[in-house]
Symmetry: C2
Subunit: 342 residues, 2 copies
C-alpha cells in the first residue's frame, strides 16, 4: 500500500510499504477513508533528525474495518469507525475514569496517513458510526479523532461552564474547536487570540465574542481591557510554545485556570509566586482522552448542530501529503484533509 | 508597646515601637492574645538583606478588639477574634467567590508578633469567636488564622474526597494539618513524607496511614510501592522548595493534582511533556483564602472533635521571639506559640 513517511525535518515522502496485518488478537486492520495532517505533526516536521529509513506518520483517521482479531468485540467488519488518536484497552482504571491517554496498554497511532492502518486495542478504541453515513459528514467525523475532543478537553479541564469568561490562545484547528467547545459549554465571553483573519472569522462563527490579533504584552493588555482589567476565568492554550504560555499567564484571572492542549515545546516554565502561586492560578491539561468524549460529542455532529469539520480548508490525495505539510507549515492551509483514494 | 522586628537574615529583635492606632474608618486595633511564628516567616529569616530599620513581622493572631473604626460592622469592642493572615473587604467579586487572598482592597498582615496590631478591613476579615472561650482552645483557634485552613486549602484545591489517595510532602505544621484535612475530607490513603519522628507521629494521630522518611528518588519509590506503582490522586506540597516539587512530580498519579501551599522559593520549574503534560497532571494551589474556610472549620475546633493546636510544641513570651525563630529554624521546635503577656 501507499503511505506517508517522515524522513527528517521538512522531508515527508509517499512510498510503497507492506500492508498492515493483524498481530495481536486485540487488533483490527482498518482501511482509511479520510485522514489528515495535525498541528502536532508539524513538530517532527520542524525538528526530526534526518534518517534514511522513514517513519510512518499520522494519527487521525476515519475508516472501514477490514479485519478483526479474535478478541475484538463491539465493532464488525464493514463498520465505519472513528479512531481516537490514542488507543486504549477500555478495561483499566484509567480508561474507566476517562483518562484513556494514560492506559498502560495504550499508545498513540502512527501511520494513519496511509491506505490502511493496524489498530491495537480495537475494542477499547474504535467507535462505530451508527447508520448510513452521509459523506458530507466525513470532515466533522474526522475531527472527532483528535482536534475537536482536544478543544473540548481544554474547556472541560478548565471548568468552563455557563457564564464563564474564556480566552483561547491559537487560531489553529484545536484553538477554533476550543472556541466551539467553550460556546457549547455555556461560556459568555470567548476571546480568541489569533492573527489570521480567515481563521478568526471562522472562530467568530464558532462562538468567539472577541478577537485579539495582537500578541505578547499588547495582546494581554487587550484581553484585560475586554475583561475590566481582570483577565478570564479560563485560558485555553492551544499552541504549545513559550510565548503562548506567557500570554496565558497574562490573560488569566486570579483564581482562574490555564488549560494546555498544545503539546509543550518547552520543559521549564514560570510557576512561582509571581506567575501561578500568588493568585491561585491552576495549570492543567494534557493529551485529550478522546475516547471519553466521543459519545457525548457525536450526536450534535450527526444531526448537523455543529460543524467542526469546517476547520478543513483543503482536500488532497495521498500523493500530495508532502505538499499538505508544506501548506500547513506555511499557514497557507488551516488543516488539510487527505482522501487516500484520490 | 513591644514588638518583634526583623532586621536581616537570622536577626530578629524585640523593641519598643509606637502603639498602633486607627488610620482608616474600616480599621480595628486588636490586642494580641496569642500569636506565633510561621514556617513562611523563616523565608525572610533566611534571606532578608540587613537593614538598620527593622520591619515588624508576624501574621497569625487571635486577639481582643480594643478599638473600631466608624465603618466596621460585625465585631464589637471586647470580642475575641480570629484574624485570617490575609485581610480582605468581603465586598468584591473575589471575596464573594471565596478568594479573599486576591481581594483588590486586601493585603497580608505584618506585625502580629507584638502586643497589639492594626487590622485593615476589619469587617471583612475578623471572625468573632462565639461565647466564652475556653483558654485551652487558644492554640487550635490560632491555627485557624493560617496553618489549618492552609492545609485544608491544599486538600480542597486537590479535590480530596471520600476514597482519595493523598501524599503530603512536609511534616511542618501545614503538612500535618493537610493530613488532618485530608482525613476529614474522607481520604483513605494518606502518605506523609517527613523525617522528624515526633512530627510524623503526630501526623499518624491526625490520620496519616503511611509515613515515608526517605526523600528524592528513594522516597518516590516508596510512595509508588505503597500505591501499586501508580502514585496518589493528590499530592499536597507544604514545603515550597524545588526538591519538594520534584518529589510531588514523582508521587502523583496520572490524572492527579499537585496542590502547593508552601510558598515557592523558585520561579521556574518543570511543567512540560515529561513532567505535567503527558499524564494530565494538574498543578494548583496558592495562598489560602483563610476567611472562606473559618465558619466551616470552627465548629469541630470548638467542640474538640479536632485539635489542630497540637502542632504547637512550645509557648514563649514576646521577649523570647528571637529564640523562637532560632528553635524553629533549627527544627528543635515544630511551631512556637507566643503569649505577649508573658
Amino acid at each position: 500500500m501507499r503511505a506517508a513517511l517522515i524522513h527528517g525535518a521538512g522531508d515527508v515522502r509517499v512510498a510503497d510499504v507492506s500492508d498492515p496485518a493483524l498481530v495481536e488478537p486485540t487488533d483490527a486492520v482498518v482501511r482509511v477513508v479520510v485522514t489528515c495532517v495535525c498541528g502536532s505533526d508539524l513538530h517532527p516536521y520542524h525538528s526530526k533528525p534526518d534518517a534514511e529509513e522513514g517513519d510512518q506518520i499520522g494519527h487521525e483517521f476515519v475508516g472501514i474495518v477490514e479485519e478483526l482479531g479474535d478478541q475484538v468485540a463491539g465493532v464488525s467488519v464493514g463498520d465505519m469507525v472513528i479512531a481516537p488518536f490514542a488507543y486504549a484497552d477500555d478495561a483499566c482504571d484509567y480508561c474507566r475514569e476517562g483518562l484513556q491517554t494514560s492506559c498502560p496498554n495504550g499508545g498513540f497511532h502512527s501511520g494513519a496517513q496511509a491506505e490502511k492502518i493496524r489498530v491495537p486495542q480495537a475494542s477499547g478504541s474504535l467507535v462505530a458510526v451508527p447508520g448510513d453515513v452521509d459523506q458530507a459528514l466525513l470532515p466533522s467525523l474526522l475531527t472527532l479523532t483528535d482536534v475537536y475532543p482536544t478543544g473540548w478537553h481544554a474547556a472541560v479541564q478548565a471548568g468552563v461552564g455557563p457564564g464563564s469568561t474564556v480566552t483561547v490562545i491559537g487560531d489553529g484547528a484545536v484553538g477554533l474547536l476550543a472556541v466551539l467547545s467553550a460556546k457549547q459549554l455555556g461560556a459568555t465571553t470567548i476571546i480568541l487570540m489569533g492573527r489570521h483573519t480567515a481563521r478568526t472569522d471562522l472562530g467568530r462563527e464558532f462562538g468567539a465574542t472577541h478577537v485579539v490579533a495582537s500578541r505578547g504584552e499588547e495582546g494581554i493588555a487587550e484581553v484585560r481591557a475586554i475583561t475590566d482589567g481582570e483577565g478570564t476565568h479560563a485560558v485555553l492554550e492551544a499552541v504549545g510554545h513559550m510565548p503562548a504560555y506567557e500570554q496565558a499567564l497574562g490573560a488569566v484571572r486570579p483564581g482562574g485556570v490555564i488549560s494546555r492542549v498544545g503539546v509543550p515545546q518547552y520543559e521549564e516554565a514560570p510557576v512561582g509566586f509571581g506567575s501561578l502561586f500568588r493568585h491561585n492560578i491552576t495549570l492543567t491539561g494534557g493529551p485529550a482522552p478522546v475516547r471519553a468524549y466521543i459519545e457525548q460529542l457525536l450526536p450534535a455532529v450527526l444531526d448537523g448542530t455543529v460543524e467542526p469539520g469546517r476547520v478543513f480548508d483543503r482536500v488532497i490525495g495521498l500523493s500530495e501529503v508532502p505538499e499538505g505539510y508544506r501548506a500547513m507549515d506555511d499557514r497557507e492551509s488551516l488543516k488539510v484533509m487527505v482522501d487516500p483514494t484520490r
